[in-house]
Amino acid sequence: MKVRLLDILYGTVIFGVAAFLYWYAVDTGISARRVASDPMWYPKVILVLLGLCSAILVVRGLFIRINTSASGRLEWRPMAVTLLVSGGALLLYERFGFLLVSLLVIPLLSWLLGFRRPIVLALITAGFTVVVWVGFRFGLGIRLPAGTLFALGG
């Protein structure tokens, strides 16, 4: 995608977010007579500047020709896979617990990203999981979550 198109898109989104947050800041009804004691004055200044800068980005994208592409070619498939696995691992970490997340995520993500040596993968996964568990449990004195779904590890 061309940088100028991305600039217009990013600038519009950031401007929209800044405008919404400004409206939210005004809508809360919190204000004070003196600027220094108004908790919303400083955030509103930041949001105005953010809106201004994003507008400049949009205008620059519309009127100045920048034909370079953004960050070369990216492979979106592995990125989407990693994002899905990351999202799952982070959001379900407390529920699944450390052991299950570690034993699932390392082989799954490595396999999906193209590492196809199952025995090596199994050894690395087991070794890494044990080292991290021992390091946290005995080195740092932190009990890693066992998971509310299954009573594993801990």
């Binding site: 990351s86 799954l108 990203l113």
Partner: protein, 495 residues
């Protein structure tokens, strides 16, 4: 004397020694793996600082910082790929040396030059920081506000062709920092009815997501670059006579590194390039540069490790981080109850002295680790990237959750990771976000205290001479790209 004894006492604590050695060891490995780098190493370690205690945390972070900067040279020498951007200049003579069968000597020079560069820079840090802090002691709220503004624009101004994007990134960081409780009135801001947001955005999940998770996403989406075969590595100490013979280039490069390090936003990559160029200009062996000349390797390595201590000068004495690495260090120090800035030298002299000593020690540890680990370097570089990234992902979850046992922190990691990736995709620099986030509370508080002092008159801020000087510097820095463009246009406009 008491301060000195207290600092020594902190340094000889087993936890601090283990953390320093462990940090340097891990830092070297992370630095050696192409693309990971110092920022990732330090942001990944942030959660650990909560459980390690003050001394061990500082030692760990300093070890990681020095180790990772040096580690970049290993892959530069062995596989012609700088492990970190700071080692870009190391490739030019390090890899040809290795190709010529002098891989052990190349690693020996890289390790020796890095350690000496770091040691010289630490001595300068110990001398320069207290002097700068003396000036900082005259600062009140207005001056602090001007300083914060100056720090923010320094980073934005080095965004060069991405000036507007740098400004937006800085403002985003400033805004994220205001979420939660207002420091003066106690009002909740931008919590949208969420209990979790009312406590604000934690520095650990925010930075871990922004740097570590976005790095994982970025690396899997980039086209894999094939590297050549990895040669077997070892360590050969160059010898004291050789070191003496090349003392001028070592000292000069260390000084260049330290000086560049003190300039906010310039960084170790530029330092090693400047140093390499200067060595090439002045060396009697200049014709051999690019063909495996040790002077070239020394210049790059002494300078990039000199930056580590140089960058700590403004960070410790004024509370201004010069780059993303020192910005995260600044945040980590704040988490430990240490507020860098002029008062630090008055209130916590022992901690400051401990930092100097730990940095000094870190360079000896770096040398020992470099020498002992050299035979293993070629094996470290064979770790398959998919496995490495999967392990980092698990560490991100484990480390962040361990801080507060709060699942909401992992949501923040995910959101900031995606945001970091998307911003990077369109060329937004991430450094200003960290600077804005870390300096935001100080800027807001000093601005509002200053307004109370001047009875709400913002223009009265220019009546404070130090603040006025800083405002002028800020404006000049902001206008520098414009001046540069005008100069280029008048110089080449007629062509």
């Amino acid at each position: 004397m008491d301060t000195f004894v207290a600092a020594i006492h902190m340094l000889v604590m087993p936890a601090a020694i283990i953390a320093l050695i462990g940090g340097t060891f891990v830092g070297i490995i992370v630095g050696a793996l192409p693309g990971l780098g110092s920022v990732l190493a330090i942001s990944m370690a942030l959660p650990l600082t909560f459980v390690l205690g003050q001394e061990a945390s500082i030692a760990l972070l300093l070890g990681l910082y020095c180790g990772s900067v040096y580690g970049g040279s290993i892959s530069a020498i062995l596989i012609n790929t700088p492990g970190t951007p700071q080692a870009a200049a190391t490739v030019m003579d390090g890899y040809p040396m290795a190709r010529a069968g002098r891989v052990d000597l190349a690693l020996g020079w890289a390790t020796t030059a890095s350690a000496i560069g770091g040691l010289i820079a630490t001595v300068i840090l110990a001398v320069a920081s207290p002097l700068l802090a003396q000036v900082g002691l005259r600062f009140g709220p207005v001056e602090y506000f001007a300083l914060g503004l100056f720090a923010l624009t320094c980073i934005v101004s080095v965004s060069r062709e991405h000036m507007v994007k740098g400004l937006i990134a800085g403002l985003l960081g400033l805004f994220v920092a205001v979420i939660g409780q207002d420091p003066i009135t106690g009002h909740q801001r931008f919590h949208f009815g969420s209990f979790e947001l009312s406590a604000g955005i934690g520095i650990v999940p925010f930075l871990v997501g922004l740097f570590a998770l976005s790095e994982v996403l970025w690396r899997v989406s980039e086209k894999a670059s094939a590297s050549g075969g990895i040669m077997r590595s070892g360590f050969a100490f160059p010898g004291f006579r050789e070191i003496r013979a090349r003392a001028v280039v070592i000292v000069k490069s260390s000084l260049i590194g330290t000086w560049v390090g003190t300039l906010p936003g310039v960084g170790a990559t530029a330092a090693s390039m400047v140093s390499y160029a200067e060595a090439k200009r002045s060396s009697p062996n200049r014709d051999n540069f690019g063909k495996g000349e040790p002077d070239g390797l020394i210049a790059a390595e002494a300078a990039n490790n000199g930056v580590t201590s140089g960058a700590m000068v403004p960070t410790l004495s004024l509370g201004i981080p010069g780059d993303p690495i020192t910005a995260i260090m600044l945040g980590a120090l704040v988490l430990q109850g240490i507020t860098p800035g002029p008062r630090l030298f008055v209130d916590s002299g022992d901690v400051v002295l401990f930092i100097f000593m730990a940095l000094f020690m870190a360079n000896f540890v770096l040398f020992a680790c470099g020498a002992l680990m050299a035979p293993a370097f070629s094996r470290i570089l064979r770790v398959p990237e998919p496995v490495l990234l999967a392990c980092i992902l698990v560490l991100v979850a484990v480390g962040t959750f361990s801080v507060n046992s709060n699942p909401f922190d992992l949501v923040i990691v995910l959101i900031s990771g995606i945001a970091g990736f998307l911003l990077r995709y369109n060329g937004f620099p991430l450094a200003p976000i960290v600077i804005g986030f870390v300096l935001g509370p100080m800027i807001e508080q000093s601005l509002r205290q200053g307004l109370i002092l001047t009875r709400g008159d913002l223009l009265a801020f220019v009546n404070y001479p130090i603040a006025l000087a800083l405002f002028i510097l800020t404006v000049l820095l902001l206008l520098t790209p414009l001046f540069r463009r005008l100069l280029m246009r008048t110089r080449f406009g007629g062509l």
